[in-house]
Assembly symmetry: C2
Homo-oligomer: 211 residues x 2
Amino acid sequence: MSESAAGMIRVLVVDDHPLMREGIAAVIAGQDDMRLIGEASNGAEAVSAYAALHPDVVLMDLRMPGMDGIEAIATIRAVSPRARIVVLTTYRGDVQVTRALLAGASGYLLKSSLRRELLDTIRDVHAGRRRVPAEIAAGIAEHLSDESLSPREIEVLRSVAAGNANKRIAAELGISEETVKAHMKNILAKLDARDRTHAVTIAIRRGIIEL
Amino acid sequence: MSESAAGMIRVLVVDDHPLMREGIAAVIAGQDDMRLIGEASNGAEAVSAYAALHPDVVLMDLRMPGMDGIEAIATIRAVSPRARIVVLTTYRGDVQVTRALLAGASGYLLKSSLRRELLDTIRDVHAGRRRVPAEIAAGIAEHLSDESLSPREIEVLRSVAAGNANKRIAAELGISEETVKAHMKNILAKLDARDRTHAVTIAIRRGIIEL
DNA sequence: CGGGCGGTAACCCTTTCGAGGGAGGCGGGC
DNA sequence: GCCCGCCTCCCTCGAAAGGGTTACCGCCCG
């Protein structure tokens, strides 16, 4: 086990699923130009692991308990703007991916990817190329234009998803019911939803709110 | 690489994520009492792989494109009632798990499980023990009693999730709006939901309807 | 500095929900 | 046979939802 051989791509993997980490580790272990130097199972661990190890490439899952991937990416990039981070996600068409790329991720990878794609992406990103499939890039442009809800609207929608009536949401947020209705109107228009229930299912599908 | 050594637990892994399969393969490869003899990436492949290989234990993901895990479990068990199948799932508290166990699965494993738990479960199930965590068993009893929706109610709820009003649902299903309302009343009562939106989020969380 | 956007709020009006009831047919289980 | 769950349908009625419109404030960006 040589300590940091020259030319080796040093990889840090961050995922809350041990078996997934194991799979990635196994794939990387079979390559002679890269090496897994660390693992983390949530955002906070990822940040400190990055600080301690300074890996060449980070593979980062988005949905994790505690600090999530987006926050971790933003934190890492704030300290080390040159950090190369590849986003790992289960769902195709997740707006979280958009946020991750805006937060500074250089690549994107579905968890359903093949071994080959994983390796290619690691090498490409390490070489300084951004690796974002065309389908995703298109999705980003689309979502950024008209489908982004304001923070307040997201708050309202989250409360709607919890089964709260406008009156109750108004009390919760300390605003009038009329204002909640105004927000709802905007939400329905932005998401092109038929009613509040539809808005919630669309938002969940897009990753705007969690379940 | 010895061909079917005596006492070896022969394992088939079914999952649509190649990296997850890789992880499981890596974990099993490190054990001297078990061996991975095959992989499949969906239900249909799982059924034919089972028929061809007759593994001792099957690790089966539930959410897969094409034929899903539940169907595959039922099909395999219909032909080979002694098949030992362990369900792999990402989500805690998924009613799909209940269905899988009813379809004949012997064990249940979260994808966030540790290597140790994976191995213990494979060995236990191979030894003929059922491996269902107490939390899950309790959840099953709970869900089976009062929270199971009738087929018609699920149809209605699915349409509600798509953003349809009662009138439209009535037209879709060829029944009167009054009947849709009656179904909604039952749904709200069974799921203990505050309104239709809440009912939908609860049902998604429980795996009663998909997104 | 004007215009756009987010957040707040109010009005009117129609439609839809959902909580009460009740009620009949139909199937399976005790 | 009887009861129970499922599916169907009916009535009433108050409360919510949501469409339309208008308006003010603060902020940032061009």
